[in-house]
């Protein structure tokens, strides 16, 4: 190793240190911004080092420079534009899209390497072939799967589980062709076989995500994030670059943790979600109501209850995100605080459409983060709450989860039923994705305000304002 190699390798190590420190600083909202800056610095260092390596190699043709720089500029422009203009409600789609391009780029790195070396007389060592195959397979699955996920989140593709006759068979066939082709390539290097496994992996990604419903998206996005990280680490193996291996492993770890957290919070195994079939959210009104009496309330009466409460806990769910009513809820909370009430938000881990999404939506609506409480933190406070205001959340509030023998048994829930009184804003008595009745709604302490989250909150704001005046 000469001095140049030494220096570049050490710079890559420094970049990796920045990534780890950056993630470490995300442990608290107070330091998270600095964490992102440290991570950005590490990235700038890694890219500058790579640039020096490319220049030092001295083999880049004029065309090579043009395509590389043009590609990077176009990509950077597109990334900058989408990052600046995206609405916070559309964040899951954007993250999904970045997963797609990241996984796609990782696959392309390996494809290029393979095509180049397949022509060489020396052939391919298996220590490169195996990571290449894994990179191509995982990267291509991530690419197509993330695009489908983004399409579903954006509403371009139906958010409902899409299945057709033989879709499972097609999914299995794609997996068999991809893995089988990959094994064949270890023994016999072949570019045509690689093209076949790329196509199979793309088909697998599509058939994997299509049957998964909207409410399961937090899990799917996390899983695809883990896939992208793994694909990038594999690209690092292929080209022998530690920075890629370390960064990819970090992302793989982060994606895996979030996948597990999300699946646990939904009380579903990963296998159950992937096989899927349900998980469409609470948008379908059910025909039959639950047993017991449901007490319906008008916005004016609900407003009186809220206006005279000392301690209010707001429980926002998927329905709030879907109705994009985060600004209205923040306005109502501010109004109640002006009247001297103590307002906090109970955030279930799967509220929103990606991990932590509800927190970002509320932060955007100017809600201070100390008011956003995690499940373990807020649950002991429910018995002291005068009013729990549930907005578009369903299964995560169902006390049936505490009993064995129901579809959601064992699922961690918010102890909303322990509040002194409960107001639920909901469009209908429809079921959540678990498809069962919510026992909270027939609780004698509960009053139901049947309306879309946005219009209900707007009328509540109006009614509270009249009381003040």
């Amino acid at each position: 190793m000469n001095t140049f190699d030494w220096v570049t390798q050490l710079l890559y190590v420094a970049a990796a240190v920045c990534f780890v420190l950056g993630l470490h600083l995300m442990n608290s909202p107070a330091t998270a911004r600095r964490g992102n800056q440290v991570s950005t610095g590490g990235m700038a260092l890694a890219i500058a080092t790579t640039f020096a390596l490319v220049v030092h190699a001295g083999t880049v043709t004029a065309t090579g420079w043009i395509v590389m720089i043009a590609g990077a500029l176009i990509g950077a422009g597109a990334g900058l534009y989408s990052a600046r203009t995206v609405q916070m409600t559309a964040m899951p789609q954007l993250v999904s899209l970045f997963n797609a391009v990241g996984g796609g780029a990782a696959a392309l790195v390996a494809i290029h390497d393979y095509v180049r070396l397949a022509g060489a007389t020396a052939g391919l060592p298996e220590s490169t072939t195996i990571p290449t195959i894994l990179d191509v397979l995982i990267g291509a699955v991530t690419f197509s799967g993330s695009i489908i996920a983004a399409g579903k989140l954006q509403g371009v593709i139906s958010a409902a589980p899409v299945t057709f006759r033989g879709s499972r068979a097609a999914n299995i066939a794609a997996a068999v062709v991809g893995v089988g082709g990959g094994i064949y390539m270890i023994a016999t290097p072949s570019v045509p076989v690689m093209i076949i496994i790329i196509l199979a992996a793309l088909a697998f990604g599509v058939t994997m995500v299509m049957p998964i419903g909207g409410a399961d998206m937090p899990v799917v996005i996390s899983l695809l994030n883990a896939f992208t990280g793994t694909a990038v680490a594999m690209a690092g193996f292929v080209i022998g670059n530690w920075a890629l291996i370390i960064a990819g492993a970090l992302v793989g770890a982060s994606g895996s943790i979030l996948t597990k957290l999300m699946a646990d919070a939904m009380n579903r195994s990963l296998r159950n979600i992937m096989i899927g079939g349900f998980g469409t959210g609470d948008s379908t009104p059910a025909v039959a109501g639950p047993g017991g009496d449901v007490r319906s309330v008008a916005a004016d009466d609900a407003a009186i209850q809220l206006a005279y409460a000392q301690k209010i806990i707001i429980v926002p769910g998927y329905g709030l995100a879907a109705a994009q009513a985060q600004h209205q809820v923040a306005e109502l909370a501010a109004l109640l605080e002006e009247r001297g009430a103590e307002v906090s938000y109970a955030i279930h881990p799967v509220a929103g459409r990606m991990p932590g999404h509800m927190n970002v939506l509320l932060a955007e609506a100017n809600v201070p983060y100390p008011q956003l409480k995690e499940m373990e933190e807020i649950n002991p406070e429910f018995p002291r709450a005068d009013v729990a205001l549930v907005i578009g959340a369903n299964d995560v509030t169902n006390p049936a989860a505490r009993r064995p023998g129901t579809a959601i048994s064992g699922m961690p829930i918010l102890d909303v039923d322990q509040a002194k009184s409960i107001i639920v804003i909901k469009r209908s008595m429809g079921h959540g994705y678990a498809g069962i009745d919510n026992e909270l709604y027939v609780n004698p302490k509960t009053s139901m305000l049947f309306a879309d989250a946005k219009s209900a909150l707007t009328s509540l704001i109006g009614a509270v304002k009249t009381l003040v005046g």
Partner: protein, 115 residues
Amino acid sequence: MTPELLTDITIFVLALLVGFEVISKVPATLHTPLMSAANSIHGIVLAGAMLIAVTADNALGYILAFVAAAFAAMNVVGGYVVTGRMLKMFRRSRAPVPAPDTPAAVNGQSTGGGA
């Protein structure tokens, strides 16, 4: 199997463990920015995309280099910018005015009136 591969595997496994350790401490409040930050970190694949250009000398190589560079640059630039934008919104106390760079702020013009 080469010694280099063994080193690579060692690094990969240790980095995974570091990742699990560091990330499992991140609070749920920050899970979306965390995922977005992780997203920008895998934008390091831009380094790999740039290295394609070192050996690219035919049309296929150039096309792959171009697409990979575009994808990876979009990933890295977009990822960092959007993470920064999100984190800027997390405030300890209610700010006097809504953030100017939030397009949806028009819906919540009176959110700044709190105590």
